[in-house]
Amino acid sequence: MSHASSPSVAVETLPLIRTLGIVSAICGLIIVGAYLATLDAAKANRQLAAERAVFKVVPSAKTITEYFLVDGRDIKPGEGADAPAGAIKFYAAYDAAGKLAGIAAEGAAKGYADTVRVMFGYTPSCQCVTGIGVVSMRETPGIGDKILTDTSFLANFKALDVKLNKDLSALANEVKVVKHGTKTDPWQIDAIAGATITSRAVGKGINDAAQMLLPKLVPQLQRLGTRG
């Protein structure tokens, strides 16, 4: 709105817009350049991290394939893409002979400090969770992070029962975290004394993910079949 002849102190707008435009264009180019330059390495890193996490929860696995469960029905190969909205990501892990060794999926629940994200391995033959790993957490060092090291807590996940009910609509028994020392059933998780909230987050993360994924996945397990 300013004029060069105007006596007021109004500033010419055009040079301001021009400067911001030029600076933004240069910055845009730098960002795109950096993105393209690091894309491959970042993808490889993410793939490696996922593989490491899966191999930890399904120890007999040799290769993994990423899948999405889309709209709660279809199973589609992931091929390294980001999960579309509403899709659940999981990994099918195959052993050396190319046979399906297990399924790894991620669950998340609110812990003491922040969301605790856990990866768990599901073994179809026993219909149970046979291993867990922590993907990320910010729990109190020395207290909440015992979920990584406490051997009696980790023993809960040698064979945690996640059988489905008869009409395959949900888990037969909800995975429940119980007070330290009161575990009676194979679908219960014995909490760590003093770290109950973090233990509960692990249990809830597994339960929520299993309730969503397994009823849809188990009837289609044959489709994942073998690989080789």
């Binding site: 040079p15 400067t19 911001l20 600076v23 910055c27 960002i31 950096a34 060092p141």
Partner: protein, 242 residues
Amino acid sequence: MENKPGEGCETGGCHSAAVPIKVVALTPQTPSNWMEFAEGLWERNPVFVMVLGMCPTLAVTVSAINSISMGLATTFVLAASCWLISLMRHMIPKEVRIATYIVIIATFVTVVDYAIQAISLDLYEALGAYIQLIVANCLVLGRAEAHAARTAPMAATMNATGMGLGFTLGLFMIGGVREILGSGTFFDIHLFGSNFQPWVVMVLPPGGFFVMGGWLLLFAIIRKRKEKAALAATEMEVQHGA
């Protein structure tokens, strides 16, 4: 604390709690590039003297490696953005200078963010949101506004690199102590036997304040002693003279 724009801090507004600083930048003759570089390393150390950028200083210094990574990331952002700002200092109208600085700083923060994802995902997880928050670090905008905007590119880059390395040193001095006491390790190497009971509080948020306070206390004591010695020396001279 770190969100304050730099102007007030640079002119002395926000280091009342810290060691008083000598006003070096106001000397009439242009300082050499080496002087520019050395200024931030110790004499005006961003962490212990200027006490800028406290948010990452207290938050990510739970281990030595985190501290160094965070410091180097900040150094890169500082040096690159000060260089570009200094290069463009004559064409940036003063009405939009802060907006321009923020765009430039945010660009290099994004570059660092991508680079760390490509280097190590574990490190990226450990540093978390503090990488993105470099853009809000008082130190970066402060150097851009108070120094790079009125200095030639070479001197501005040297000064920014020195400041960044000084910041890294400060972070490392805090992070190293916190890791040794809080986890019993240094760069993940176990220092003590299995009987060592880590002081968990040191890797929790209060530990950051304890160690920071401890260092500031130590520097304050040393400074007081030096002042006392200097005072005694002058008194002696006066007595001898009389």
